[in-house]
Every structure is written in structure tokens, then in C-alpha cells.
Amino acid sequence: MSDTAIQDEAIKVDTEKGNFKYPENYAYDAGVGLNEETIRYISKVKNEEPWLLEFRLKALETFKKKPMPTKWADEDLNNIDFDKIRYYLSKGQMPARSWDEVPDDVKQTFERLGIPEQERKFLAGVEAQFDSEASYSRMKEDLEKEGVIFVGSTEGLAKYPEIFRPYFGKVIPTADNKFSALNSATFSGGSFIYVPKGVKLKQPLQAYFRINAENFGQFERTLIIADEGSEITYMEGCTAPKFETATLHSAVVELVALKGAKIQYITVQNWSSNVFNLVTKRGMADENAEVKWIDCNIGSRLTMKYPGVVLKGKGARGEVLSIALANDGQHQDTGAKMMHLADNTTSNIISKSISIGTGRSTYRGQVHMPKHLKNCKNNTECDALLINTNSRTDTYPAITTRGENNTVQHEASVSKVSAEQIFYMMQRGLSEAEAMSLAVNGFVNDLMKAFPMEYSVELKRLIDMEMEGSVG
């Protein structure tokens, strides 16, 4: 990502086709490294109010003070060089790359997943911006009629402070961890959504509709507020590998489900294998509300992500369904957090991981039931599948239980694909690799059903692809 790489050099496509938009302003670049100036610069470019600048600067201090969590986490974190990272790239400064520079394996993956031509270029980082304006604007109209607000983080805080500011940084405080502090200091992009009382969105909202430079930024910030009795499903990411040169991604996602509301948040993460993906995600569920995280991690070099639910109101429900696939050189360090803070709250965690080659998958969980609570329940299941002799898996749950009539159960198992199963399928004419794929797909099948159809179809194809070459 050198400064000399200019967009026009790299891209030679028909701009009419697919209705592409080009950035108008090339001037914004915060430079390399992180200091107070960088933060002031970002805030100025975004034309932010003083309180937000103050918020960012405080977060920077917190970030500097917090140690790296290498006491318990992967020491690979020490390989992040914070001084070499660009913390803010406006639209015009996205790295330019020609289609020829995109690695062949990424191109093949696009091909096999059947990604449309234009999208491929965006996903590969060739295109700086891809706004499927037509579909998005039609959707936007419908949403506006219902009073739904669906904007970027900057716009959200500037235009609707009375809605978003009270919850901004409240579910995940700046000091929650080193990377939430980093995000609080440097955030840019992401989605801010408000769903009014009683509005139940039939169609899932997708970050995909708003693909542009900022949306897939390194430090995106998402805040979703579902007002009383409303329902929303939000999807981010896509199954296609996102080819990136930037090595650090650190998002913060906060969900607020008010009384009786339901939020379902679906993530499919498939960053290229040079990316550190260190994400903080947490939802707050009020009385009888429900927050559900569906999380699928396929890409990245190291992912650390433990979606959580704070069960604040009586009868609240929290759920995390998670699939992780760790191939050679990858470490998927994922898990879940359930903080029970009211009576009759229930939580459910189901995590399935597959380690292939030298891949390592880790489940880290926390379930907390303090005293004075009654009739709370948690169920946790983590199953790990190991494909090769050098694959690795770890499980580190932490469970604290007090109170009356509270029940917690945790179960974890580790296994490999049984030789009998493979033998049976091969007898019926499947190749070993096909048999393996089928067995692995069977392992995650019940969780896969929780994903929307188009995702689960693509996920299945992806698993097939990841399994190739892992047998024999």
C-alpha cells in the first residue's frame, strides 16, 4: 500500500457497468502509526463533535496502558507492529492493485463460489468501492417507511445523536480490552441501526448492501438498537475470501435488545490468511429480549472473538452458535460469554470446530451466574473435530455459578472422523476426500441449518474446498 499507487493506474473497467462509483476525494490519509495526531486527524476528517474527539483520545490512552493479553492468548499477537499500521484510509486511499496481482487461489475460490464478476474485483481489493446502489436504495426506501435508521457510524453519531449516543460504548466500554480501546480510538465505518418499537423486519439487513471502502474497514464500529418488541436479523461478511493487505482488523459490535426485542447477528468471516482478526462483540438483552450470535470463522491468521450476551432483564435469552474452521497456519480462537444478571434468564452456546493440517482451534468461554439469581440456565456444548495428526484443539471454559435453582451444564468432546464411516462411504464409490467432506459437513450440519440458505450452501462448498488435499 504505497502512496504512489494511484487508482487510475490499476483499474481499467467500464464504470457504467454495474454502476460503480469512484471516490471524489483523494486527500484523506492519516499516515502510518498511531498517536494523538492520528486521532485528531481522523476526527477532523469526519467533522466530529468535540465529545467524540474526547472519547477517542481517552480511548487512545487506555489502549496504550493496557498490556497485550499474551498471558493467556496466542503469542502470535506480539507480531503485530502497531507503528506500521495505517489507522485511517479514506475512500480514495484504499490500496490499489490490479487483477493480475490477485493470487490464483483467491481467483479460483471466486470462480467456484460463483461470485459475480464485479464483486470479485471488489473483494480482491482491485475495486475501491462497490455500491450496489439499485438494490440498496430500494431497500432503503422500504426501511425508511418503517422508521428504520440504517447508516454508517459517522452519520449515525452526527445525525441521530439522541438515539445512538446513549448506547454508544455502553455495552462494550472502551477499557473492556486492549483491542476495544484501539477500536474506540480509531473507529471508522460499520453500521448504526435503529429499529423502532414493534417493527419486525422480514428481510435480513446486510452489510453487503453497503459495501464500500469504509464498511469493510479495519476498525469498523457497529451499533444496533432494537426498540421494544422489534425484530431484526443482520448479516455481515460473506463466504468469499476477502483479500487484504492490511494485517489488523479490530471491530467493535454492540447490540441493544430492549424489552421483548429480538436481534440475530450473523457473521461469516473469511479474511485472507495474513489477517489478525481481533473483534469484540457483545449484546445486551433486556426483559424477555433475545440476542443470538451466529458466527462462522473460516479465514484469517489469528481470530480472537468471543461474542457475548449480557442478560440484563428477567427472562432474557442469549445464544451463540459458532463454527470455526482452522486450516494450516491458522488459529481460530473463538468462544462465547454469557453474563446472567437477572432471574429466569437462559443461555445456550453451541460451538463446533474443525482443525485441518497444522490448524488450531480454541474454544474459550465464560458463563457467569451471580448470587441472588433464580432459575437461570445455561447449556454449553463444544465439539472439536481433528482431521490430521498434527491438528490441534483446545477448550478453556470458565463457569461461575451461585444462586438458587440455577443450572449450568458444559460438555465438550474431541474426536476424529471415524475410519468406519470413511470406509463405508468409500465402499459405495466415494473418493476418500469426498467421504471426508461429507463426514465433516455432517459434523456441522445441525448448526449450518441456523444460517440463511444462501450462506449455508456457500459454506458447504467452502468446507469441501478446505478439505481438499487434507486427506492422504
Binding site: 448470587k371 495428526t389 483446545d394 463457569i399 461461575t400 440455577n406 449450568v408
Partner: protein
């Protein structure tokens, strides 16, 4: 920090060998150089380290002859035995050696001090050579620099000892610090069982216990260790236990924990030989403000081995338990079966159970699982019994004792099992409502 614990004792024996003096010196440096544990340390997660205070304890003084005799009379928990040692405040009150037949077969059972004098080579090879790696290195250092009391059992190849060896470790004096040590070396194809018992003289004498046990089970050896811990509730206790399991060995460990104000229990099993079978059972009954902090580590370094762990905790009042267990299957340790189960029975809303069951698996052809459950007595089962005319209180007692029985029966010694039931009843029965 108290100065008396920081001053190393002159020597364990009259003419201390150099290797031992060096080992104790190194241990002393370990103890003084390491910080007290803090919550930032993963190994101490959930432990109330703020309450952990080892100041104001002194290395125990030898009690009077009358006191020793009185305590010997109270050391009756296992009557059929192959040998017995009774220590009070780290002083040897009585030693009952092996019968001639076993001595003729080459079995050695001696107090630590005598073993150093009579079998220096054996002791140089094994004494103070294994320590747990679960966060209490500082306390291992303390133990190793001040250890005096303890017993050593050596079983030569092919010899089987039918009756158990019984070691009693009592505390009696005010603010005594004791450092009991159990060392078992079971050579190939041997059989031995050991019972270690930790008791307090009165309900009031404050004490600090830092006990270490090291077991070496050779190829095909069958070693069974049973531990009864019933300190008074003024005792701070550490038990740092290691076991190395050889090829096709069969190692069993049952612990019943009733006493102490706060007890830290580290149990580390290292499977070094293929085909080993290891079973670990523990039962803890916690009340008032007791804290039981249990850390276990099952390491599989060899293939085809089985390890199985069951830790059960019943909690009353404001008591706390922490179970933190890790199974680690090394690369190449294929066909491993490793299991870990933690069951917590919460009998009061103010009690707190913490579970940290962990797995680290680096081989693929394994069967590993862990489960942790925490809950109250099952309402349906209670209802079933009550609908058959059993009072609620009796039903509760039946169910709670049923919960315990799974571990108690594992001691495989009727007399000891009955004595354990009695100990638990004394503490517990009146509290079940």
C-alpha cells in the same frame, strides 16, 4: 512476610549430604524470589488470593510426649495396614515398620530422615525432584526448604504389598507450619496402596500446611493413593501432588476433602508410558466460608493411555470451590482416551462453584471429553421420594449422600469408607434442610 519461614532450617538430618543442602538452598531461593500469587496469574483465576496469608506461621515445635501419645491413640482410621507413621507438627510420634517378609523382599518404608541416612542414592534420585507446574512453585520452594516430616515407600520389581501403608500428619501447636512429604517409588510390576491422612488436634489450632506427594509408578505398577483431608477450619492448606505413570501402569487416586479454611490442591499426572490407566477421584464438602481451590493437569505423553477424572463438590453456606482441570494430549499420543468430569451441587444460594475444565489436544486419533455441571438437587427426584412418604429432609440427605457415595465407594476399603461417611455426617448432616 514472616521472617521465620524465610530462614532456612539448619538441616534435616545430622550430617546432611551436599546434594540435599544444595536442593534446599535452591528451593529457598525459589520461595524468597517468587511473588505471592496474584489474580493476574491464570493459574490463580477465581481464587481469593487476597485472603491468602502465610505470615505469622512458624515452623512447628515438637509437642510434648503426652500430646504425642494421646494423638497416636486417636490415629485409628485404618486398622489393617502394612505400616504406619504418625507425625504431629512434623515430629515423628510413632513409626510402625514393615513386617519381616516385606523387608526381606527388599521393600523400604521409612521416615524421610532415616531414608536419607540409610538410602542416600535412592533419595538423591527421587527426593524433591518433582513439583507441580500449576502456579504454586513458590510454595513448593517453601516446602522443599523446610521439609522434615514424611515417609518414603520403595517397592522393588515384582513385589506386591496387599495392605495399605498409612501416613498420619497432624497439626497441634499454635500457628504451626508443617511440611508433610510422601514419596512413593513403585518399580515395574509392583502393587502398593498408600493412605495419607491430614488431621488437626483441636478445632482451634491455627496451622499452615504445605504438603508434597510424589509418586513414581513403574511399568505395570499398580499404585493406589487415598487422601483424607479433614483439617480444622483454621488451617490454610496446600497439597502439591505429582504422579508419573509408566507403561501399562494402573494409577488410582481418591481424595476426600472436608476441612481447612482454604485449601489449594494441585494434582499433576504425567503419563510417560503407553497403555497406562489413570483414575482420579475427588469429593469435597464445603461449608461456611471455606474455599477449595483444585487444579488438575492430565498430561498424555504416550499413546494408548486412558485417564479419567471425576471431581465432585457439594457446597453449603458461603463456601466457594474452584475446579480448574486441563487435559493435554501431546503430539504423537494417539489412541488416547482422556475424560474429565466436574459436578457441583449447590445447596445454598450463596455458595459459589467455579469450573474451568480445559482441553489441549495435539493428536487427532483421540477420544477426549469434559463435562462440568452445576445445579441443585433434582426437583423431580425429590418429588418422587416425597410422594413415597419420605420426608423432604430425609430425601435431601439421601440424595446428597448418594452424590457423595460415587466417590466414597472408590476407596475400596470398607473400614475407611465407613469412617469417611462418619466424618462427612459429623460435618454435614445437621445442615441439610
Amino acid at each position: 512476610m514472616n521472617t521465620t519461614l524465610e530462614t532456612p532450617t539448619a538441616s534435616i538430618t545430622a550430617n546432611e549430604p551436599t546434594w540435599l543442602a544444595n536442593r534446599r538452598q535452591t528451593a529457598h531461593e525459589l520461595f524468597t524470589s517468587l511473588e505471592m500469587p496474584s489474580l493476574k496469574d491464570e493459574f490463580w483465576r477465581f481464587a481469593s488470593v487476597g485472603r491468602l496469608n502465610i505470615d505469622n506461621f512458624n515452623p512447628a515445635k515438637t509437642p510434648t510426649g503426652e500430646k504425642l501419645a494421646e494423638i497416636v491413640d486417636r490415629s485409628t482410621i485404618v486398622s489393617e495396614r502394612a505400616g504406619r507413621s504418625i507425625f504431629v507438627d512434623d515430629a515423628l510420634a510413632e513409626f510402625e515398620g514393615l513386617n519381616e517378609e516385606l523387608i526381606a523382599q527388599g521393600v523400604i518404608y521409612l521416615p524421610v530422615e532415616a531414608a536419607i541416612q540409610e538410602h542416600p542414592e535412592l533419595m538423591e534420585k527421587y527426593f524433591l525432584q518433582e513439583s507441580t507446574e500449576l502456579g504454586s512453585q513458590k510454595f513448593f520452594g517453601l516446602h522443599a526448604s523446610l521439609v522434615r516430616a514424611g515417609s518414603v515407600l520403595y517397592v522393588p520389581k515384582g513385589v506386591e504389598i496387599k495392605q495399605p501403608i498409612v501416613n498420619y500428619y497432624w497439626t497441634s501447636g499454635e500457628r504451626s507450619a508443617v511440611f508433610p512429604h510422601t514419596l512413593v517409588i513403585a518399580e515395574d510390576n509392583t502393587q502398593a496402596s498408600i493412605v495419607d491422612i491430614f488431621f488437626s488436634d483441636t478445632a482451634e489450632n491455627e496451622a499452615l500446611n504445605v504438603a508434597v506427594s510424589n509418586i513414581h509408578a513403574g511399568n505395570g505398577a499398580k499404585v493406589f493413593r487415598k487422601v483424607v483431608q479433614d483439617w480444622n477450619e483454621k488451617t490454610v492448606s496446600f497439597q502439591l501432588d505429582t504422579t508419573v505413570a509408566g507403561r501399562d501402569s494402573d494409577v488410582k487416586n481418591v481424595a476426600v476433602n472436608i476441612g481447612s479454611e482454604r485449601a489449594r490442591f494441585e494434582n499433576q499426572i504425567r503419563i510417560e508410558g503407553a497403555g497406562a490407566h489413570v483414575k482420579l477421584y475427588s469429593l469435597t464438602v464445603a461449608e461456611e466460608s471455606q474455599e477449595f481451590d483444585q487444579r488438575t493437569f492430565q498430561t498424555h505423553n504416550a499413546p494408548n493411555a486412558v485417564s479419567d477424572l471425576l471431581y465432585k463438590n457439594a457446597l453449603l453456606d458461603k463456601s466457594r470451590t474452584i475446579f480448574s482441570g486441563l487435559i493435554k494430549v501431546a503430539e504423537g499420543a494417539q489412541q488416547t482416551d482422556a475424560y474429565q468430569t466436574n459436578r457441583n451441587l449447590l445447596l445454598d444460594p450463596t455458595a459459589e462453584a467455579n469450573a474451568l475444565p480445559g482441553l489441549e489436544i495435539l493428536a487427532n486419533d483421540v477420544k477426549c471429553s469434559h463435562g462440568a455441571t452445576t445445579g441443585n438437587v433434582d426437583e423431580n427426584e425429590l418429588f418422587y421420594m416425597m410422594s413415597r412418604g419420605i420426608s423432604k429432609r430425609t430425601a435431601m440427605q439421601l440424595m446428597v449422600f448418594g452424590f457423595f457415595e460415587e466417590v466414597i465407594e472408590k476407596v475400596e476399603n470398607d473400614e475407611l469408607a465407613e469412617n469417611l461417611r462418619q466424618l462427612i455426617r459429623n460435618k454435614f448432616e445437621s445442615k441439610i434442610k
